[in-house]
């Protein structure tokens, strides 16, 4: 490398600065410990992301929000819990509008992959089910898709957590998570989609 190049000069200047720096022992040790802590967390998250597919939802799909109700995937008669897909995933199609999620009540099984596909009819909304990891924004013109598993049966509210107008604080719907036995019983009664 050319010793007169800007890279060489920068490296030699940095080396001199580091050599001159006299960092207190405590400060040095804390730097090492903090770096080790961050490194540990990054390794754990990376292993989860690469091998266990644990990653933040990332989905990009557009749709015409103004004509959702006219037909297509989010027409009024097509929203709600869908029949189980061949790969075992249960799709739930929801429309977020001021001020509710439609359909207003959904029933899903526990311990099964649930794929939420949500679209907004009007403005920016958020969808959050407390005590679970289902939380995302619903942006007009886009479909939000989140796949999650509900380990614990029970009744959960589905809340809007993105200010959308005067009725935002009343915008919520209900999600009922059934145990496998109850889900099968419901299936036998013919109430399954």
């Amino acid at each position: 490398m050319n010793p007169n190049s800007w890279i060489s000069k920068t490296r030699s200047e940095l080396g001199l600065i580091l050599q001159d720096m006299q960092i207190e022992h405590l400060e040095k040790n804390w730097i090492y410990l903090a770096t080790a802590m961050i490194g540990f967390m990054v390794v754990i998250l990376s292993i989860g992301a690469v091998f266990l597919h644990l990653n933040p939802p990332s989905h990009w799909e557009t749709i015409d929000s103004a004509s959702l109700h006219l037909g297509g995937e989010f027409a009024e008669d097509k929203i709600g819990v869908q029949p189980e897909l061949p790969d075992g995933i249960i799709q739930v199609k929801l429309v977020a509008a001021r001020y509710g999620f439609f359909p207003r009540e959904i029933v899903v099984p526990a311990d099964k992959k649930i794929q939420f596909r949500m679209a907004s009819l009007d403005v920016l909304h958020g969808a959050h089910i407390p005590m679970t990891n289902m939380s995302t924004m619903i942006v007009p013109g886009h479909i939000s898709e989140v796949t999650t598993v509900f380990p614990k049966p029970g009744e959960y509210p589905l809340l809007c957590n993105e200010y959308c107008g005067m009725g935002h604080d009343h915008m919520w719907s209900k999600v009922t998570v059934l145990s496998q036995n109850d889900w099968d019983a419901r299936k036998n009664e013919g109430k399954q989609p």
Partner: protein, 48 residues
């Protein structure tokens, strides 16, 4: 003696008690993070 005039040999090692507190704090924070991640976040259901 100001820090600018000190050489590396002049630095005294840190007191043992301070080092112990340092390590305990770091361990505590790491354990707390691990508890939140493995004990609360993951049991609430994987998300992708």
């Amino acid at each position: 003696m100001s820090i600018e005039n000190q050489s590396p040999e002049d630095h005294e090692p840190a007191p043992v008690g301070t080092m112990v507190l340092l390590v305990l704090t770091a361990l505590g924070m790491t354990v707390a993070w691990a508890f939140l991640y493995f004990g609360i976040f993951l049991p609430r259901g994987t998300v992708s």
